[in-house]
């Protein structure tokens, strides 16, 4: 009798020590599954290295019938990014909200959201966010003061966009499918010596007399960082 009670006590003590950790690490148990996961908001955001995205990312799980699915498990992953929470069940409107903190390296980060499908497969949604380093932040500031007036189609109360007034229309800096075709050198030339220097529109004025070389390089770095689809710099690439 006595050894048994000691054993019981020991077992109790042991499990009491473990239990808190084990429940904390357990994934929430899904009560439903969906076939599709879609973005509600928060994709394509830009922030500083190491920082949270300005807005949380919201995703939604839908069923085969296209209706939203509540209490489905969504797991987030992405190299270098951190998610709070890492996984969660969808709420009554089929959505999960996650805060995303990007890594310290200035680059694009993939945000992947997985949910299990009823057939055992996984539905995945891939979003992208960009972390700007020092040089790209410098470029963004130059952009916000000068370039944005024509190159951003959106107007704000403080600034009316000139985008629609120009023909040929300027290219938004996110327009990777167009701007990725230019080398760094041609972008530097166009910014410094104007559109005419590369047989482009004369409506693009030369900024070489206004911006320093450091600023122009920073703008090019910013254009590269926000390009969508992402810019791949030419040169040797080693698979990791």
């Amino acid at each position: 009798m006595k050894p048994l009670s000691i054993l019981c006590l020991a077992w109790l003590l042991l499990t009491a020590g473990c239990s808190r950790h084990s429940t904390g690490a357990t994934a929430p148990v899904p009560e439903a599954k969906g076939t599709q996961i879609v973005e509600v908001s928060g994709g394509k955001q830009i922030t500083s290295t190491g920082s949270f995205l300005p807005q949380p990312v919201v995703v939604q799980v839908n069923g085969a019938d296209g209706n939203r699915v509540a209490k489905a498990l969504v797991t987030f992953r992405g190299a270098g990014a951190q998610f709070t929470p890492q996984q969660a069940l969808t709420d009554s409107s089929g959505q999960v909200t996650v805060n995303v903190q990007l890594g310290a390296e200035p680059r694009g980060y993939q945000i992947l959201a997985d949910t299990l499908k009823p057939d055992g497969g996984t539905a995945t949604l891939a979003l992208r966010a960009v972390a700007l380093g020092y040089q790209q932040r410098l470029g963004r500031e130059v952009n916000d003061q000068y370039c944005i007036r024509c190159h951003d189609p959106e107007s704000t109360p403080e600034r009316a966009s000139n985008f629609d007034n120009l023909s040929p229309a300027p290219h938004a800096f996110t327009d990777g499918s167009f701007l990725n075709n230019f080398s760094d050198a041609s972008l530097l030339t166009i910014t410094t010596r104007g559109g005419v220097a590369q047989a482009k529109s004369p409506a693009m004025p030369p900024f070489g007399g206004t911006l320093t070389e450091k600023q122009v390089k920073a703008v090019v770095a910013y254009i590269r960082a926000v390009a969508d689809p992402p810019y791949q710099s030419p040169g040797v690439k080693y698979g990791e």
Binding site: T49, F52, E105, R149, N165, S201, Y238
Partner: protein
């Protein structure tokens, strides 16, 4: 051990007794000691051989040889690497593990071999810990990156890395938005009313949130409103800066009672008592359009029907102003705000009686029935005034607001000048807060009362981004710059205390021109710098503009309001602007105006439209041109002086630093021809608003 044969024989002094062969036991002991000695001698080299940094160096070499980076492998010398900058006291061994800082090994993406992104300072002149903090001389990651018993300053997390810059760069710094924003917030959220934040160059960060004086508060609003406001300022105005002190109903009511009791009559109180309340029947549309045409929303925000806040944040939000102010006070305020509050930033608009009546009926209609329900303070008690006064003293209300009979407390909150250096041993962490300085500061800014119920610091309504910026700015408050050569400290540009003089100066003070315009380094950034306005514009245009400021930039929402200035006032202002605000070097010799002839103008037109595409940004002909970036030039020949136009075209940045207008490197003759063309543009009409 003590009775070995050798010892015994030696003591006997008989060398003949020495044996040629030691005993097996002696051999074993000797061997054991030798091995122990060898092992102990080997510990140091082994530790070195199996050290973390050597492991990283081997991994780097392996990666490099895998990628056929022959020269990198051949030139590699294993060992501790360090950057030593004697004059800065820098000894950084980070490169011992972070071997690929310059990116010579392409595409190595995992730490510690990742290349360093473009950096503002050369590595060999500044080292690493100047910006990143951490322990530079350490050779293990743990010691270099973390706080240890002997090292208080761990590596700055990447999200706060701007704090590294802010230790020496005391002013706005391009590329470091968080420390810039954080410092602005220290001023605009009023943190520095209570906390001293002294920068390493001795300047003290000053608040610029302008909390209103409460000395005549009873004329402006009711005890009920003050009660509701103190209970929850953000319920009245979502954008309010005033923090929530989390008072209970009775405390809030007692403070309201005390504030009403200390209120004294303002200078022209009799006048308002005799002013009939403004009532204008069926003028809702007129009054709304008056609010629009006076450009009130340049400074004041109000929620629109969709619940979005529309307007500037220079003055207080007006969404529920009808719940707050008395009609008498409002009428008098609109007539001349300086009568009530001489230090206000609101201009004296010179509105006539009809305009005042229209505008006050519009503003008084801005009420919210949900908010009105909260306007019921519990009844006062016998000792309400005493208790209210006690709370006002205890919570430092007078640090921000002027209150009769209460002296502003000195250094009410803790000194934050060295917040970024605060030793962790002096920090009391709240439960759930990670034990490091950034997490502590961030939690403290987010919810001060979570550190204890008796604390006085109120809860500010800040977004996560704002908290991150404030934390960055506070982490930048260190004494590092004290240990560096003085020339590395980059002080903020100091605003001048320029004030225009004489009669015009008094007028400009009354109109608060410097709330929006900057002149000689003093003033706001809402409107163009007027330092050289006298050289730029013609008198007739200037007088016309002040009479009726039709905007030059039709697409802008924020515009110059119309002050009902008298002709005499306009003449005084014009005389002063044209004579006092002259740019240097603007004499008649700068441009030969005889060359501005018709042929030149024709050439200039060609340059304007074809070569330089100026119509991309400027409107000359409202029918065909659509440029929204620069001011409309349809009336440039009436507005600008030829010399200014010429000099501006040659180098705009020298006349107005930071202007968007690019320097096109025009030749002298091109600038002259363009000037000739612009001087022919004399359209008086403008294109209307957008």
């Amino acid at each position: 051990m003590a009775d070995t044969g050798m010892n015994t024989d030696t003591q006997n002094g008989n060398p003949g007794a020495l044996r040629s062969r030691p005993l097996a036991r002696e051999l074993a002991v000797f061997g054991g000691v030798s091995v122990l000695l060898l092992v102990s001698l080997a510990i140091a080299p082994a530790k070195d051989y199996f050290s973390q940094w050597r492991h990283h160096q081997k991994a780097y070499l392996k990666l490099a040889s895998g990628r056929q980076s022959g020269p990198l492998v051949r030139n590699f010398h294993s060992g501790i690497r360090q950057i030593w900058v004697e004059k800065l006291g820098v000894v950084d061994r980070c490169e011992t593990c972070h071997l690929n800082m310059n990116g010579a090994l392409v595409d190595a993406t995992a730490q510690p071999s990742r290349r360093h992104p473009v950096m503002p300072h050369p590595l060999d002149q500044f080292g690493c810990v100047m910006c990143h903090r951490g322990q530079g001389v350490a050779t293990t990651a743990e010691e270099a990156h973390s706080a240890t018993a002997a090292w208080e300053q761990p590596l700055l997390p990447a999200r706060y890395s701007d704090a590294g810059c802010g230790q020496c760069h005391l002013g706005p710094l391009p590329g470091a938005p968080k420390v810039n924003d954080g410092r602005r917030l220290l001023s605009s959220q009023g943190c520095t009313h209570c906390h001293l934040v002294r920068q390493p160059d001795g300047t003290v960060v000053k608040p610029d949130d302008n909390p209103p004086p409460l000395t005549h508060i009873a004329e402006k609003t009711s005890r009920d409103w003050i009660f509701a406001w103190i209970k929850n300022p953000q319920a009245y105005a979502a954008s309010a800066t005033m923090p929530n002190f989390q008072f209970n109903d009775q405390d809030a009511a007692d403070i309201a009672t005390f504030l009403i009791s200390q209120s004294t009559p303002s200078t022209k109180r009799q006048e308002i008592l005799h002013t009939p309340p403004a009532t204008v029947p069926s003028a809702a549309t007129d009054s709304a359009s008056l609010y629009g045409s006076l450009f009130c929303s340049s400074c004041h925000a109000a929620q629109n029907a969709a619940g979005n806040l529309v307007g500037g944040n220079f003055g207080p939000e007006l969404t529920r102003i009808g719940n707050k102010v008395t009609p008498q006070w409002l009428g008098r305020w609109l007539r001349n705000p300086h009568d009530y509050e001489p230090s206000t930033r609101m201009p004296h608009y010179r509105l006539d009686d009809k305009q005042v009546a229209l505008l006050s009926s519009y503003l008084l209609g801005k009420t919210d029935s949900d908010f009105a329900v909260t306007l019921h303070a519990p009844p006062g008690e016998k000792d309400s005034v005493t208790h209210g006064r006690k709370l006002v003293l205890e919570y430092g209300c007078a640090a921000c607001h002027q209150i009769n009979g209460v002296n502003p407390p000195q250094n009410f909150g803790p000194d934050l000048s060295l917040a970024g250096n605060k030793p962790l041993s002096q920090v009391v962490f709240a439960p759930g807060v990670a034990e490091n300085l950034p997490a502590y500061i961030s939690a403290k800014v987010h919810d001060p009362r979570s550190f204890g119920t008796g604390l006085k610091m109120p809860k500010f309504s800040l977004t996560d981004t704002q908290i991150e910026s404030l934390t960055t700015a506070l982490l930048a408050q260190t004494d590092r710059a004290d240990h560096l050569p003085g020339d590395l400290l980059i002080p903020a540009p100091r605003p001048t205390n320029y004030q225009p003089g004489g009669e015009a100066g008094r007028l400009m003070e009354d109109l608060h021109c410097l709330s929006c315009h900057t002149i000689h380094g003093h003033g706001g950034d809402m409107a163009p710098d007027l330092s050289f306005e006298g050289s730029a514009v013609q008198r007739a245009w200037l007088e016309d503009f002040m009479k009726n400021p039709n905007t030059l930039r039709p697409a802008l929402i924020r515009r110059m309001p119309k002050f009902n200035l008298s002709s005499a006032e306009i003449k005084t202002l014009s005389d002063y602007l044209l004579s006092a605000y002259q740019a240097p070097g603007f004499d008649a010799q700068a441009l030969d105006t005889r060359a501005l002839n018709t042929e030149a103008a024709a050439r200039g037109r060609q340059l304007f439209y074809s070569k330089y595409n100026c119509q991309s940004c400027h409107i000359v002909d409202y029918k065909t041109d659509k440029g929204y970036v620069g001011p409309a030039l349809a009336g440039a020949g009436l507005r600008l002086t030829p010399v200014w136009t010429y000099k501006w075209l040659k180098d705009p940045n020298s006349l107005r630093p930071g202007t968007v207008m690019p320097n096109q490197n025009l030749r002298d003759d091109e600038a002259r021809d363009l000037t000739a063309f612009l001087m022919t543009l004399k359209a008086r009409t403008t294109g209307g608003g957008k």
